[in-house]
Amino acid sequence: MPEMNAESLSIPLTQGMLLAGVLFAFGLIGLLVRRNLIFMLMSVEIMLNAAGLAFIVAGAHWGQADGQVMFLFILTLAAAEVSVGLALVLQLYRHFQTLDADAMSRLWG
């Protein structure tokens, strides 16, 4: 493996942030337009990872480890969220026989 210079690998902050922003937007749009709960969960994952990416890029830019620490936290959080979320989705599917989020709108004022 040829030696690589850290400088040559560095991605400009703007581009990294832009990517994270675009990813986040995709995630949000997916969350809003998809009605299937599984897809909504996946969209949330994308948003979480977009946020994580933003931390990594910022951390790399400032040369701080905090960004990576934060990403580890987000990873853990996402794992926990998915495990609980999937369990809920399973229960909801048993109850409603569908995964359509709009069908589960009984809780309204």
Binding site: L28, L31, L32, A101, D102, M104, S105, W108, G109
Partner: protein
């Protein structure tokens, strides 16, 4: 022997508790036994304590304190549950237990038909407890407990026959009107405590003399506030209107509470705190004025009432007016002496009136009675003795000696004046007139109603004992001219100081002759007007003047109407206008506003989780934009 003092109020308390808790399982005989027995035992203990106390004569200050326990102890404020026995409270205690016992005994037979037999004796026992607490208390706080306790029992017993709404209204009236005075009394208590730092009556009086000079405004304010309480409880001007209506209760109640004991609590309070009144001459003058005014007004009203119990009620107001007159001129002993004799003869008159009412099937109107002399001989003779004593029939009756003492001091005391004496003498004439109006209308003339049941032994026994008391109690204190006995004034002199008479013995005898003549004249006029020439009375009341005046007096000088227009109706009007509560409107407005917000905002709660996510995102964008752009 003196340390048995705590038993005196405790025994009736046990009687009350037994009747209240377990009375439902008792037969009427057991109920009567407990009700009367507890007061009887209390009387016996009071007698023992009293004889032991009189045996104490060697000691200097002649008083006995018994502190049972301290209620609570908070930085210098430590009200004790303690009793203070001195000649003043001893006389009160003996009269309350003796008269109370006789009235309980009378009620055994009088109330036998009543379905509330147990309730009656329970309340009566509770009343005796509260009254004894009131007079024995060594501090003002415990006194106030007794004070409110008797007020409560009075309320419960006036409304004893609660099924009739009129009785309930009378009970409420009594409670509310006396409450006006009680509020003043409570404020007076706080004032005394904040300035003198104790509730103990003896300490209070010493500290008051040390800290306040004669005529100081604080002493005057405190004295006036206490006077407010006394005026309410003792049915004096201007709070006297509740007592005539209080006659809605059973007759033994009227005898015990509204004649012999509770209504004299005001007299007791002033006598107990007389040091304070000596420091505030203006308050003491007010006491004398109130007494003089009340005794005249009430005597006039008593003249024209048709209901036998209302006559006696107004007469009670009038006689307590005499006591206030005595207090106002500094004749503390005379006031207490008149309380003692009054307790005997007024209880007697009420009980005898009760016997008459019951044997005539609940007839209260004296114009529908008559000629009962033969049918009810014992009642007649005892009633006659009571009425003679009330009228102050010279030389043989107790009422004569006590009233004479008051009138003499009203003239001769440094605070007295011929005016006060004159009012007293006119009052004495009116008293004789209305008391013999009763005697002649009820017991003489032709019989107008059929006599049903005749009173039995339990009713007549107490009447005879009270009649004996109404005659001989007066010989404890006989003026200089007529034999010079001063057992009573010597006995109470350590607590209730007297003064040296300034007027000569000739003046004294002249005044006594006038008093005697006033009473005899009253009886003679009553004889002419109500027995010989009843047409004269009819003629008098048929003139325009006469009918207006008599209607005015029957209504008790229009006080009820006055209070109704000035206070009751405006209050009811305000209550009616404000029945939705103005302050509530603010909170209702708040609730309305929140409901409006809800109506708008609840549309956003659709249950659509994607919609929520969108709003969340939009909200975040707005907040971030605000943070970034500002």
């Amino acid at each position: 022997m003196l340390n048995l003092l705590w038993l005196v109020p405790t025994l009736p308390l046990l009687g009350f508790l037994a009747l209240a808790v377990a009375g439902g399982w008792f037969s009427r005989k057991t109920i009567a036994l407990i009700g009367v027995g507890s007061v009887g035992l209390s009387l016996a203990v009071a007698g023992l304590v009293g004889s032991a106390f009189i045996g104490l004569s060697g000691t200097a200050d002649r008083s006995y304190d018994q502190v049972l326990w301290t209620w609570l102890q908070v930085s210098g404020f430590g009200p004790a549950i303690g009793f203070h026995l001195d000649p003043l409270s001893l006389v009160m205690m003996l009269v309350i237990t003796l008269v109370g016992f006789l009235i309980h005994l009378y009620s055994v037979e009088y109330m036998i038909e009543d379905e509330g037999y147990r309730r009656f004796f329970a309340y009566m026992n509770l009343f005796v407890v509260a009254m004894l607490t009131l007079v024995l208390a060594d501090n003002l706080l415990l006194l106030y407990l007794g004070w409110e306790g008797v007020g409560l029992c009075s309320y419960l017993l006036i409304g004893f026959w609660y099924r009739d709404p009129a009785n309930g209204a009378a009970a409420q009236k009594a409670f509310i009107v006396t409450r006006l005075g009680d509020v003043a009394l409570a404020i007076g208590l706080f004032l005394l405590f904040t300035h003198l730092g104790t509730f103990n009556i003896q300490d209070l009086m010493t500290r008051a003399t040390e800290q306040w000079p004669v005529g100081s405004s604080l002493a005057a304010i405190a004295a006036f506030l206490l006077l407010g309480g006394a005026v309410g409880k003792s049915a004096q001007l201007p709070l006297q209107t509740w007592l005539p209506d209080a006659m809605a209760g059973p007759t033994p109640v009227s005898a015990l509470i509204h004649a012999a004991t509770m209504v004299t609590a005001g007299m007791y309070l002033i006598a107990r705190t007389h040091v304070l009144y000596s420091l505030a001459p203006i308050a003491q003058t007010a006491v004398a004025m109130i007494g003089a005014g009340t005794l005249l007004l009430a005597a006039c009203s008593a003249l024209v009432q048709r209901d036998i119990k209302r006559v006696l009620a107004y007469s009670t107001i009038s006689q307590i007016g005499y006591m206030f007159l005595a207090l106002g001129v500094g004749a503390w002993g005379a006031a207490l002496f008149h309380f003692t004799t009054h307790a005997f003869f007024k209880a007697l008159l009420f009980l005898a009136a009760g016997a008459v009412i019951q044997s005539l099937h609940e007839e209260h109107d004296i114009y529908r009675m008559g000629g009962l002399r033969q049918a009810l001989p014992v009642t007649f003779w005892t009633f006659l003795i009571g009425a003679a004593s009330l009228a102050g029939f010279p030389l043989v009756t107790a009422g004569f000696y006590s009233k004479d003492w008051i009138l003499w001091e009203a003239w001769a005391s440094p605070l007295g004046s011929p005016w006060l004496w004159g009012v007293g003498v006119i009052g004495a004439f009116l008293t004789a007139l209305y008391s013999f109006r009763l005697v002649f209308n009820v017991f003489f003339g032709e019989a107008k109603a059929e006599v049903g049941s005749r009173p039995g032994l339990m009713v007549e026994g107490p009447l005879i004992v009270l009649a004996a008391g109404s005659l001989i109690a007066g010989f404890l204190e006989v003026p200089r001219v007529l034999g010079d006995v001063s057992l009573f004034s010597k006995f109470v002199s350590p607590v209730l100081p007297s003064f040296e008479a300034t007027a000569s013995i000739t003046t004294e005898s002249a005044l006594q002759i006038i008093t005697m003549l006033a009473a005899l004249l009253g009886i003679a006029v009553a004889y002419v007007l109500f027995l010989r020439r009843p047409a004269l009375v009819t003629a008098m009341t048929e003139t325009a003047w006469g009918s207006t005046l008599s209607r005015f007096w029957i209504e008790g000088w229009g006080f009820d109407r006055l209070y109704d227009t000035w206070f009751v109706r405006p209050f009811l009007w305000v209550a009616q206008a404000n029945k939705d509560d103005l302050i509530d409107r603010v909170y209702e407005g708040l609730a309305w506003l929140i409901r409006q917000f809800f109506a708008v905002l609840h549309r956003t709660q659709t249950g659509q989780v994607r919609w929520y996510a969108a709003v969340l995102a939009a909200g975040s964008v707005v907040i971030v934009a605000l943070v970034v752009l500002s």
